[in-house]
């Protein structure tokens, strides 16, 4: 019973061991993404961002949060640079059943895509 409750809480917090959206799968323990069971290799920063967007899927990640994650100590990424980054990531997710939606002026979220 307790295990089931814990699992529920984990799912709510988006900290489940395995997170799935469409064909996109995240294995938290192994720290690995996969699309239709084929591993998806991502450079460190894209990995971080996709991790945020999957915790849990559908969570809105603000531009500021993403920008802070991606930038160096004293400079933050501009809107255009951020959008360029996201569109690169978006391309890699094509056909996975999961897409990154831009929320104009707010941020980004991951949603199921046909």
């Amino acid at each position: 019973m307790e295990a089931r409750l814990r699992a529920l809480v984990r799912r709510a917090k988006g900290t489940e061991d395995i997170v799935v959206l469409g064909q996109l799968k995240l294995d938290r323990k192994a720290r690995r993404f996969a699309v239709a069971n084929a591993p998806l290799d991502l450079p460190a920063r894209e990995f971080e961002v996709l991790w945020e967007l999957m915790s849990p899927p559908g969570r809105t990640v603000s531009k500021r949060a993403l920008s802070d994650k991606l930038s160096g100590f004293d400079e933050s990424l501009g809107d255009n640079a951020l959008e360029a980054f996201i569109s690169r990531l978006r391309k890699k997710l094509l056909g996975s059943g999961a897409g990154i939606r831009t929320l104009r002026g707010i941020g980004y979220l991951l949603e199921a895509e046909v």
């Binding site: 809105t60 603000s62 531009k63 500021r64 929320l103 104009r104 002026g105 707010i106």
Partner: protein, 462 residues
């Protein structure tokens, strides 16, 4: 609903008439009395002088009859002659002729009075003698040719006639003044009551008025103040009449608005009942559901308005993060915007802005504005935060200037709304009311190149 409050118990305020009379008559009486007293003192002074002069003349008259005789100086008048010279109707007169060393030549030996100063021939004074208070004069004579030594004449008199004179002065001076004062008081009383009578009439007219009667009250134009009071009361009635009429219009519009979806529901239901096809039923029920949603939405807005009216008195203001609230609102409307193919986004939410406001009301403003924009706007809606101003901008047909104020003041549907046949202009009037409660400024502007921008600016005190 709030409980009816009992009016506070007040002591009856003092009468205006009495207060005015008191404020006028008391200073007047005091001033007149003071004036009368001063006049009296002056009159008394001069009458004293007259009396004294008379007494001095008597002393001189006696002196004229003092001559040198066989035994030195002597008074050549018999007691009877003296009595004639010194006769007075009211007062008792005493006299004494003495040598300078005090020895008596004629008259009362024990009559003593203060002597004249160095260089003066006579002196007046008040003395006690024979059980009475007397006014006395001492007249000194130097040695003259024919009289080989100086002598002194003393005349003293009771002050009965002086006292009687003062009393008569007092009476004849004060009595008319008191009488005048009484007449003035009576005249003032009547005058004030006459001038204040319209106040009493106004009060009675208002007391007996029916609660539904909002026609102007007649006020006699006897004074500027009363005129102003009457104008203010009638202006209030004017505003009340307007407000009552606006409310009746409102209720009428609400009833009309509710009738339409309800009639539609009935028509759909009746049509569906006449059919036997489940597909038709499904379609009718779907449309019934839509109509119900519209009616329900309308009722929600009316409740919101009623709530806004109640909240007027005790609105709690807490710190509200406008950027976070805007973000949450946009996310909440995203699904509906997607369904209509409208691009809903934001701008300027990177900077945190906190104002003192009420979260429910700010949310209500944004919800209504986005809702309106979804109904009437174009393809793009943006929620913008700039400084202390929150705006909702769409690129739809916009609202012509003339219609803008109408939409906010009265609850009305513009021709665009009627054409679309959905929603109500109620949304903007709710937004206006909420803004007013928050002490924020509401503006409608045209957006570039086309569309509508509705802005709410929070004041500095927020």
């Amino acid at each position: 609903m709030s409980e009816a409050t009992t009016p506070p118990v007040t002591r009856t305020a003092p009468s205006l008439t009495r207060r005015v009379l008191r404020n006028v008559l008391v200073p007047l009486a005091l001033t007149w009395m003071a004036g009368a007293v001063i006049a009296l003192v002056i009159a008394n002074y001069f009458s004293e002088q007259a009396f004294d002069r008379g007494m001095l003349d008597d002393a001189y008259a006696l002196s004229a009859n003092v001559q040198a005789g066989e035994r030195g100086i002597e008074l050549l008048l018999t007691p009877r002659e003296v009595a004639t010279v010194l006769f007075d109707q009211t007062d008792k007169v005493y006299f004494s002729v003495q040598r300078l060393d005090g020895t008596l030549i004629s008259g009362r030996g024990d009559l003593k009075a203060p002597l004249p100063d160095e260089g003066s021939r006579y002196r007046f004074s008040d003395i006690d003698y024979d059980g009475n208070v007397l006014r006395a004069v001492v007249l000194d004579h130097d040695a003259e040719p024919g009289l080989h030594m100086p002598y002194r004449v003393i005349v003293a008199q009771t002050t009965l006639s002086r006292a009687a004179l003062v009393q008569r002065l007092l009476f004849y001076a004060m009595a008319p003044q008191v009488l005048l004062l009484v007449l003035l008081a009576v005249w003032l009383w009547h005058g004030i009551r006459r001038d204040l009578r319209p106040l009493g009439e106004l009060q009675r007219a208002l007391d007996t008025r029916d609660v539904r009667d909002l026609s102007p009250v007649a006020v006699a134009q006897t004074s500027k103040e009363l005129q102003r009071l009457g104008d203010a009361v009638n202006a209030l009635f004017d505003r009340l009449r307007y407000s009552v009429r606006a409310q009746r219009e409102f209720v009428g519009n609400v009833a009309h608005e509710l009738r339409t979806p309800l009639a539609g529901i009935r028509a759909l239901a009746e049509y569906g009942l006449a059919q036997h096809d489940t597909e038709v039923w499904r379609e009718q029920l779907t449309r019934v559901s839509e109509r119900q949603a519209r009616a329900s939405h309308l009722i929600d807005q009316l409740l919101a308005l009623a709530l806004a009216d109640e909240a007027r008195t005790d609105l709690q203001r807490t710190p509200v993060s406008l950027d976070m609230l805007a973000e949450q609102t946009v996310l909440r409307h995203l699904a509906r915007a997607d369904a209509r193919g409208v691009d809903l986004g934001a701008r300027g939410l990177d900077d945190g802005v906190t104002v003192l406001a009420n979260e429910a009301l700010v949310e209500g403003i944004l919800d209504n504005l986005i809702d309106n924009a979804l109904r009437y706007g174009g393809r793009t809606i943006t929620v913008e935060l700039a400084g202390r101003t929150l705006s909702v901008i769409d690129d739809g047909p916009g609202i012509p200037l003339e219609a803008q104020r109408d939409l906010m003041q009265r609850w009305a549907q513009g021709p665009a709304g009627q054409k679309l046949g959905q929603g109500a202009g109620l949304g903007l009037s709710i937004v206006a009311r909420y803004a007013e409660l928050l002490g924020a400024e509401l503006r409608l502007d045209a957006a570039e190149p086309n569309g509508l921008r509705v802005s709410v600016t929070f004041g500095d005190d927020a």
